[in-house]
């Protein structure tokens, strides 16, 4: 029953953060629509935040610094989502699609 005590170890959280991050990378390179890419990017940010919080809990001398860092990541993610989605809406109005492969105005 050693699995029941894994939440006491730093490595569990690091591996889990890496898992979320690579799921986000996979989504980012396979998605075709801009909104899907944005969702995958949020997944990557969640993985990074878990890493910060895990180091904060287990290693940092002052455990409030990592929480403040994660709070700032959340604020930046909110700003990024707002800007990104407004760009998506503007792109949709202009091209009538959000498929990343059809936005080819700049293609030579």
């Amino acid at each position: 029953m050693a699995l029941l005590s894994i939440h006491h170890y730093l490595t569990t959280y690091l591996v889990f953060g890496a898992m979320l991050f690579s799921l986000g990378v996979y989504g980012l390179v396979t998605r075709k629509t801009l909104i899907g890419m944005l969702i995958a990017a949020e997944l990557m940010l969640a993985g990074v935040s878990i890493n910060f919080m895990a180091f904060n809990r287990f290693l940092a001398p002052d455990p409030s610094v990592g929480q403040i860092f994660t709070l700032f990541i959340m604020a930046i993610a909110a700003a990024e989502a707002a800007i990104g989605l407004s760009i998506v809406v503007a792109v949709y109005r202009h091209y009538k699609t959000v498929d990343a492969e059809e936005l080819i105005n700049l293609k030579g």
Binding site: I39, L43, N56, M74, V89, D99
Partner: protein
């Protein structure tokens, strides 16, 4: 790190461990849906599940404050914004037979697997140095830090958010007749 003796299943610690395992499963399930689902609405539901699970992780990492913020900001604000964008801008995602780019096949999976393997190997092999705690990391301390040590960044974040709000209004409004 000192090993912790594994608890019995039917004790308080064992139940906590079981909840943690279930949470890992649910969060990964949500993340998997978010990364691979065909329809965007399903991907959005997946990421809501995943973010709620991440909030549970923050709770396990001694930070109920961040768990609350995670649910408030990510689930309550960002996911709702994305759902609005899906309603406004993304109709049916057409399943086309157009030749997909070279990253979307097994190559993309290989990239993600390589990143995961590399980071896992790094996490498993590094000797992490544990420092003695000098503070408790309570909400009170976070507040004091935010208004003293990190007050400059705090103000900058507010300005960034303000500019993002104004900018998104300006961008999304242009081209409307």
């Amino acid at each position: 790190m000192t090993p912790v003796p594994p608890p019995a299943l039917f004790s308080a610690d064992g139940m906590v461990g079981l909840i943690f395992l279930v949470m890992i499963g649910v969060t990964l399930f949500g993340g998997f849906i978010a990364a691979t689902a065909e329809r965007l609405v399903r991907a959005l539901s997946g990421i809501v599940i995943c973010f709620t699970g991440v909030a549970g992780f923050y709770y396990f990492l001694n930070s109920p404050f961040m768990a609350m913020m995670q649910i408030l900001i990510y689930v309550g604000a960002i996911c709702v914004t994305i759902s609005f964008a899906i309603m406004l801008a993304a109709p049916e995602e057409k399943i086309k037979s157009s030749p997909s780019n070279m990253l979307s096949g097994p190559f993309g999976f290989m990239i993600a697997a390589l990143i995961f393997g590399g980071m896992t190997a790094l996490a498993l092999t590094t000797e992490w140095q544990v420092n003695a705690k000098t503070a408790s990391g309570s909400v009170r301390e976070i507040g004091i830090h935010l208004l003293t040590t990190y007050s400059m960044i705090f103000e900058l974040i507010s300005i960034v958010l303000l500019i993002a709000i104004i900018g998104s209004i300006v961008i999304a409004r242009g081209g409307r007749n």
